[in-house]
């Protein structure tokens, strides 16, 4: 990905992330989240992670955010009067966030990173990802299926109305 394109996408990503945490209406927060996730998928494409970019759109923007929107609309959440914690606490939290970001940025700036190595044409495609998933990472992969099963059962049990 060329540098100007990256800067545009990065600026849009940060802007939509700010919408998520600042907007008073939860629906707009969710839409800001969708936009952030789509832009991150584009950045993944720029990093030649094609499969992950597609998964990002299908799983995150498609499934998870729809779940959020579904719950927001089901509960009919409106614009909140007191969406944020009191003002002094916001200032403290913002200062802490800026400090955290600055610390990590200084760490990144001081770490020498080699230029990206050239990769094969199929880097980031379905095949190398699946090959890793079913060889090196087979046990975590199977455990993930167990985790999802437990989560489904848990969500159904918690979510159902008490008789």
């Amino acid at each position: 990905m060329s540098i100007p394109l990256f800067l545009i996408f990065a600026a849009l990503t940060v802007a939509s992330a700010l919408v998520v945490i600042i907007h008073r209406n939860p629906i707009y927060c969710a839409l800001g989240l969708v936009s952030t996730l789509f832009l991150l998928a584009l950045l993944f494409l720029g990093l030649e992670a094609h499969m992950v970019a597609v998964l990002q759109i299908i799983v995150y923007a498609g499934a998870i955010v729809v779940l959020f929107l579904f719950v927001i609309m089901l509960l009919n959440l409106q614009v909140e009067e007191r969406a944020m914690v009191p003002r002094p606490l916001i200032a403290v939290a913002a200062a802490g966030g800026i400090l955290l970001g600055a610390l990590v940025l200084v760490g990144i700036a001081q770490t020498p990173l080699a230029a990206p190595v050239p990769v094969h044409a199929d880097y980031g495609g379905t095949e190398p990802l699946a090959e890793r998933l079913f060889t090196t990472y087979l046990l975590p992969f199977e455990l993930t299926s167990l985790l999802l099963l437990v989560a489904i059962v848990g969500a159904v049990v918690v979510g159902k109305r008490r008789a």
């Binding site: 992330a17 927060c29 952030t36 950045l43 990093l47 719950v71 914690v85 990590v104 700036a109 990173l113």
Partner: protein
């Protein structure tokens, strides 16, 4: 080609935004969305470093993070649904039964 460290810097900024969101919002659903932002910031780091090393391992980890995030969202939103039925609110400041 954009340097990898720029992607890491963007990831750090997103992580900081997500942290501020978790700390400042009262609505539990929005706090949850901020947590998704945190997860995605880390995902960006994983993908960027995987590209820098020319290895697929970072992308596999991102795959697992997405699966865990989906499980977390399903259970968390079910809990919030039940909480709303019980208390008629999703304001974190009013749900204090377990607060010491």
């Amino acid at each position: 080609m954009t340097p990898i460290s720029w992607y890491l810097a963007l990831s750090a900024v997103l992580f900081a935004i997500g942290t501020v969101g978790v700390l400042t919002r009262r609505n539990l659903i929005v706090v949850f969305m901020a947590i998704e932002l945190l997860l995605n910031a880390v995902n960006l780091s994983f993908v960027a470093l995987a590209r820098g090393l020319g290895s697929m391992d970072g992308q596999v980890i991102v795959f697992f993070v997405m699966a865990v995030a989906a499980a977390e969202a399903a259970v968390g939103l079910a809990i919030m649904l039940q909480l709303y039925r019980l208390r008629e609110t999703l304001n974190a400041d009013e749900v204090t039964t377990l607060r010491w």
